[in-house]
């Protein structure tokens, strides 16, 4: 506060010295604080971090080569010495396969959502803020792709592009872009009509500045919540694609692929055969709960 202002305050508002009250934390800090107090979200985040860590550190943690199989050791049950989670149908250690499989499964889950977040978010914010012809064009194009049920579109694209992780990532990104665009456009349109955005326009600042300072902060929250919930869908879908033989190709380790190749094994070692599905379920569930926690933390209404 400048000297002149201090003088003004003293003159206008009297000699009473008001002790400065601690400033209210910034919005994002408040969200962070609320998240810290939510036990479910914390537990879920810890589990997720654990899974991610194990996947990244697979060479250290796995203890066995995920590709090395021996016919003699096929389909050993859980608790076999040396293979504590058993082996798969070609004798490869299941724990190692799960660890390495986590890499591809998580990648196939997170990468498409990130791509669609950037592309879809950009298109949606553009459509929402600019409106008019550009907005209509973008939204109508998205409508056509939105007309396909997601699995169908993903399968169609994958089926025609061929196998492989990159193809399945491309397919899933294409599938997720329309809902991303839709969400970003809706939220941006709402924000655009708020008075403070009008006031910012009236102060003669450029569109980019307005978007950066006023629109983005108010729009990112809901978009991020939706993106997090999409990750859980993406993990299930990508594993499903591999399950159908459209995604990752053998002999790579990936949870969906493992689920498929172990299908016949349920008659012999049912619990081993079900393990990859457990991993998919846990990971997907954690992302879902994290998304819910995020949404509750950001809802000012529930907390004030």
């Amino acid at each position: 506060m400048s000297q002149a202002t201090a003088e003004l305050v003293r003159r206008e508002l009297g000699p009473v010295e008001i002790t400065p009250i601690a400033a209210a934390p910034g919005y994002w800090k408040a969200v962070g604080q609320r998240l810290m107090r939510d036990p479910v979200t914390i537990a879920v985040t810890v589990i997720l971090l654990g899974i991610i860590f194990i996947s990244i550190a697979a060479p250290l943690v796995a203890g066995a080569d995920p590709y090395a199989g021996s016919v003699l050791a096929r389909l050993k049950p859980i608790g076999t010495p040396g293979h504590w989670l058993g082996t798969d149908e070609t004798g490869r250690d299941l724990w190692a396969r799960l660890c390495y499989g986590g890499r591809l499964s998580l990648l196939a889950g997170i990468l498409p959502v990130s791509i669609s977040l950037v592309v879809g978010g950009f298109l949606g914010i553009l459509a929402g803020y600019a409106g008019g012809l550009v907005g209509t064009l973008i939204m109508r194009t998205m409508d056509v792709f939105y007309a396909f049920p997601s699995i169908l579109l993903a399968i169609a694209i994958c089926g025609l592009l061929g196998n492989g992780l990159s193809n399945s990532v491309i397919a899933l990104s294409v599938v997720f872009i329309p809902p991303m665009v839709r969400i970003s456009e809706t939220v941006t349109t709402q924000a655009r009509h708020l008075d403070f955005v009008e006031a910012a326009r009236a102060s003669g600042t450029t569109t980019m500045q307005i978007i950066r300072h006023h629109v983005l902060a108010n729009v990112l929250g809901p978009i991020l919540v939706y993106a997090t919930s999409l990750i859980s869908v993406s993990i299930i879908l990508s594993a499903g694609l591999s399950f159908l033989g459209l995604g990752v190709t053998p002999p790579q380790a990936e949870w969906g692929l493992m689920l498929n190749s172990l299908r016949q094994a349920i008659y012999v070692q049912p619990y081993v055969a079900a393990l990859p599905g457990v991993m998919i379920f846990i990971t997907s569930m954690c992302f879902n709960l994290m998304s819910d926690g995020f949404r509750s933390a950001m809802d000012v209404r529930l907390n004030k």
Binding site: M1, S2, L8, A24, Y27, D195, F196, A199, G204, A217
Partner: protein
């Protein structure tokens, strides 16, 4: 009037700060099978007025008469269909005149809803400092200017600078909005129903604040409101609008003591008063305001006017001096065809 020399002043005190000529805005109404335009809302039609330096011009009218649309047209938040706006001698938007951006540095606006006018995720100081920062002022200076302005509007910056909108009351927020409007050091401030949403006691405080600031910073005000008493209190001159058109304008005493247009008279007559000497003798306004989508031809008030004649349906009455010649400097203008309707009926 306190006219210390403003370096941006171009034409001296005689030149109006704001000159508005034949401003028009029609909104299309879409419907039907293919979403084509089926009608227009004639929100603002041929509105002309001027604002002198240092005065407060009050704009009154019912809801839907086009007051807020006019304000947004002036700020170029909406593009006008037709009409000129001249700011201190420079046409706005013209190649040789003032650019819209430059105009916005000299003309600012305070909105009605104090809460939605502020970004819920920005502190008070950040909100006030936003515009100067975006226009090039270094962040530190912008923040210190913001704190200074907060003090000027009566909020202790040490207490309020780092607060969020939801932590302040309506009156306090509106003060912040005023501070924000003053951040770019404008010469003209449009107050669009700025005090309408506040409790009466708070309203009085904010009005007094506005008067102080006007004197301190040499401001000119455009005060839009539907509250007749408040407009009488703050304005030097008054503009009365009805269904997108100006029906009467003049000095505040003249308008309030001797309203000429039948609409203005009915408007004042419908003001409830406890004064037994001022009983209502004539019929107050009846009926609902007609739809701005299909306004009546000619004089738009004729469907509710007790004096309507055939000519009222054919010709739009021009805004001109009262027909009985009784008025003074030509400052009091009425838009009505009929001298009989313009005569003041003495109680």
């Amino acid at each position: 009037m306190n006219m210390t020399a403003d370096p941006r002043d171009r034409g001296g005190p005689a030149q109006p700060l704001l000159l508005v000529n034949d401003l028009r805005k029609h909104f299309p109404v879409r419907g039907g099978l293919l979403g084509r335009q089926i009608a227009t809302v004639q929100a603002v039609d041929d509105v002309s007025f001027s604002v002198r330096k240092g005065e407060t011009l009050g704009i009154v009218g019912e809801s839907g008469c086009g007051k807020s649309t006019t304000a947004r047209l002036l700020m170029r938040l909406i593009e006008p269909d037709a009409g000129d706006v001249v700011f201190d001698g420079d046409p706005v938007g013209d190649r040789h005149g003032l650019s819209v951006n430059a105009m916005r540095r000299q003309m600012q606006m305070v909105f009605q809803d104090s809460y939605s006018s502020l970004n819920p995720r920005m502190t008070m100081a950040e909100s006030v400092a936003y515009a100067p920062r975006m226009h090039g002022l270094p962040a530190k200076e912008a923040l210190s200017r913001a704190e200074d302005l907060l003090a000027q509007v009566g909020l202790n910056p040490r207490q309020y600078a780092r607060r969020y909108p939801h932590e302040l009351s309506g009156g306090q927020r509106q003060r912040v909005n005023v501070a924000r409007a003053l951040a770019l050091e404008p010469r003209l401030v449009i107050l669009d129903e700025a005090v309408s949403a506040l409790d009466k006691s708070i309203e009085a405080q904010v009005l007094n604040l506005l008067a102080e600031l006007k004197a301190r910073f040499n401001l000119t005000y455009l005060f839009i409101s539907h509250d007749l008493n408040v407009v009488e209190y703050v304005s030097d001159r008054v503009l009365v609008m009805y269904l997108g058109r100006v029906v009467e304008t003049g000095p505040v005493e003249a308008i309030y003591a001797r309203p000429r247009h039948p609409y203005t008279r009915a408007l004042f007559a419908s003001k409830p008063t406890l004064d037994p000497d001022r009983r209502t003798k004539e019929m107050p306004l009846t009926g609902d305001p007609p739809n701005p989508i299909n306004p009546p031809s000619g004089c738009r008030f004729r469907t509710r006017c007790a004096f309507a004649q055939a000519i009222c349906a054919e010709l739009v009455p021009p805004l001109a001096a009262p027909l009985d010649g009784a008025d003074d400097s030509g400052a009091h203008l009425v838009a009505c065809h009929l001298p009989h309707a313009q005569q003041v009926l003495h109680a």
